[in-house]
């Protein structure tokens, strides 16, 4: 049972009990009041009986008018009293009725006594009269005693009634009090006990939880408010545990992150170390390429210069073949110089600083086309250049790449009487793809993989001059811009170089 219900019970039971006791007292008082009233009437009847007796005696003794009148007055008042009383008990009513009857016969006897005595019968036999009087007196006495006894009996009966009613009321109250107080006390004691036990369990439970054991549950299942409280505390602990668990997880994550950061730091340090090494290597490479640029070219210049000197100063002493050899020596050294230059260019493209700015590719294409036209005005080549093509990138590098591509196109269209070189843009998957297309000699797609390798050529130097480094350089420039480059072509159908940036 819930504590609230028990307390309500504990309050309402005494209230109902008091109400009940009050009502019981009220009704029993009402009943008793009637009894008391009857009792006092009965007492008055009894005293009337005594009075009547006294008046009879007085009249018998003195034969005066006064007791006679008094008797009659008393008789009337008693008759009225008796008529006014209604008793529940039939025995009592019978007694009362008997008293009434006796009083009536007593009056008759008294009146007969009076008439006997009255001098209305002056010729009366005195002896006879005395005998009759004696007889009447005797009867009166019997009646009187009878009545007295009856009245006394009636009175004691009514008094008994009152006493019984009192006892009944008292007993009722006692029973009510006992029958309500005892269970109530038992209920209250048990409630107190269960509350104390529950509170103690709760206190112990919360102490355990408070000491940090969040896995603990009070688990009290009593079907009252304290049971609810226990459930609430358990629920709270559960939530707390969930939060604490997530806190633990968080801490773990923080630690993991810390570890990861340390790892990153370590990697970063490694990277820095590698960068330093790379920078050193780069410096070495620079020194190397500087040496190459300077020291490798000097002997070539000597070879070329003195071969020329030989040709000029001693050409007459050589035959045609000898002069041809010297020409070949010169051509070789010049080609080697070109190779060195191209190689240096390639390495420079790889390591030079890059800036990203908007670059007008169309304008660069037009500049290059104009330059090419001027270099050989005999050639009949049509340039088709789309306007307004711009891209983000390093202008110097992009110009170098486009110069390479245009000079290739220019070179490979040279064997045809007419040529067409186109620069434009197409979109593939939403991405701008730039292309340079020529209708020159083209190439066999079987060897397309070789085109971007340094020193890889698909034509002999006799057909087309070149070192085979140009496309490698272009590819490096495009890759440095994060773009892609590829080439499509067919023999005698020209070639198209595509690139993205």
């Amino acid at each position: 049972m819930r504590i609230n219900t028990r307390l309500k019970l504990a309050v309402s039971v005494p209230v109902f009990m008091s109400l009940f006791v009050g009502l019981a007292l009220f009704f029993s008082y009402q009943a008793m009041e009637k009894d008391w009233k009857n009792g006092s009437l009965v007492r008055r009847i009894r005293s009337s009986v005594t009075e009547l007796n006294t008046f009879v005696q007085s009249y018998i003794h003195y034969h005066e008018e006064r007791p006679k009148r008094q008797f009659l007055v008393e008789y009337d008042s008693m008759t009225q009293l008796i008529a006014g009383i209604r008793l529940r008990n039939p025995e009592q009513q019978r007694l009362l009725d008997k008293i009434g009857l006796n009083s009536e016969s007593m009056k008759d006897l008294f009146l007969r006594l009076v008439s006997n005595y009255e001098p209305s019968d002056p010729a009366g036999n005195a002896e006879l009269l005395a005998k009759a009087e004696e007889r009447l007196e005797g009867q009166l006495l019997i009646r009187s005693r009878d009545m007295d006894a009856d009245a006394s009996r009636l009175r004691s009966m009514v008094d008994d009634d009152i006493r019984r009613a009192q006892t009944r009321t008292f007993t009722l109250i006692l029973f009510v009090v006992l029958f309500t107080t005892i269970p109530l006390t038992i209920v209250l004691i048990r409630t107190m006990k269960s509350i104390t036990t529950s509170l103690s369990t709760l206190r112990k439970g919360t102490e355990v939880i408070g000491s940090g054991n969040l896995g603990h549950r009070i688990g009290m299942t009593t079907p009252d408010e304290l049971g609810d409280l226990s459930d609430a505390v358990d629920h709270m602990t559960e939530q707390l545990q969930a939060v604490t668990v997530s806190k633990d997880e968080l801490q773990q994550e923080v630690e993991e992150r810390k570890r990861a950061e340390e790892e990153i730091k370590k990697l970063n340090d490694d990277l820095k170390h590698h960068v330093t090494q790379l920078e050193e290597a780069n410096k070495e490479l620079e020194a190397f390429s500087y040496s190459v640029s300077h020291d490798l070219r000097s002997p070539l210049r000597s070879i070329d210069g003195f071969s020329q000197a030989l040709l000029e100063d001693y050409g007459g002493k050589l035959d045609g073949e000898g002069r041809d050899y010297l020409q070949r020596v010169r051509a070789g050294s010049q080609r080697m110089a070109q190779l060195i230059d191209d190689l240096l260019n390639l390495s420079r493209v790889a390591r030079s600083e890059m800036s990203r700015v908007p670059v007008d590719l169309s304008k660069i294409a037009k500049d290059i086309a104009n330059g090419l036209r001027k270099s050989d005005q005999e050639r009949n080549v049509e340039f088709v250049i789309s306007g307004g093509l711009t891209a983000q990138g390093d202008e110097r590098l992009l110009r170098a790449a486009m110069e390479n591509l245009f000079s290739n196109a220019w070179k490979f269209t040279s064997i045809h009487p007419r040529g067409r070189i186109e620069f434009g843009m197409a979109r593939r998957d939403g991405q701008p793809v730039y292309f340079i297309k020529d209708d020159g000699v083209g190439f066999d797609m079987t060897y397309v993989g070789k085109l971007f390798g340094p020193f890889q050529r698909l034509h002999s130097p006799g057909d087309f001059p070149g070192t085979g480094i140009g496309l490698a350089t272009v590819q490096r420039i495009i890759h440095r811009h994060g773009g892609r480059i590829w080439i499509e072509g067919a023999v005698e159908k020209g070639a198209t170089v595509y690139f993205t940036l």
Partner: protein
């Protein structure tokens, strides 16, 4: 033109010979003083060392300066020249094998008047020397 001296600073004897030949072919007939390294060039310019006895008033019309040299390199010579009142305004043409951007920029920063890269093709070299001679020995007027 005859009295105008050209100072050629060049450590490679082949290059000295080829440069002389190119000058000759370009009809530059001025006296050419050859310094084989930077130190000798400075000695000549400031009349020190083996040139302590030379006429201090004669200054070269133009200095053809190689960059990569033993002892004192070309850039150092240039720096010392530009630091000295006597040679501050002397035309200096850097004539070198290097095509490094770095060298070109440093040269101009230090006050070189011109930067020419020696081509491998001798004919092109002659052409370049011809133009140099025309400009620095004929057209250019020194202050």
């Amino acid at each position: 033109m005859k009295n105008k001296v050209i100072l050629l600073v060049e450590d490679n004897p082949d290059d000295v010979k080829l440069t002389m030949r190119a000058l000759k072919k370009s009809n530059v007939l001025n006296e050419v003083v050859v310094a084989q390294d930077g130190a000798e060039a400075l000695d000549y310019l400031f009349c020190a060392g083996k040139y302590s006895g030379r006429d201090k008033n004669v200054m070269p019309q133009v200095v053809l300066l190689d960059l990569k040299m033993p002892k004192v390199d070309g850039l150092e010579v240039l720096k010392r020249m530009r630091a000295d009142e006597r040679t501050r305004l002397l035309p200096v043409v850097v004539l070198t094998t290097s095509s490094e951007e770095k060298d070109r920029v440093s040269s101009y920063k230090l006050g070189a008047n011109s930067y020419v890269r020696k081509p491998v093709d001798f004919n092109q070299f002659v052409e370049a020397v011809q133009q140099l001679g025309l400009y620095w020995l004929v057209l250019n007027e020194t202050p």
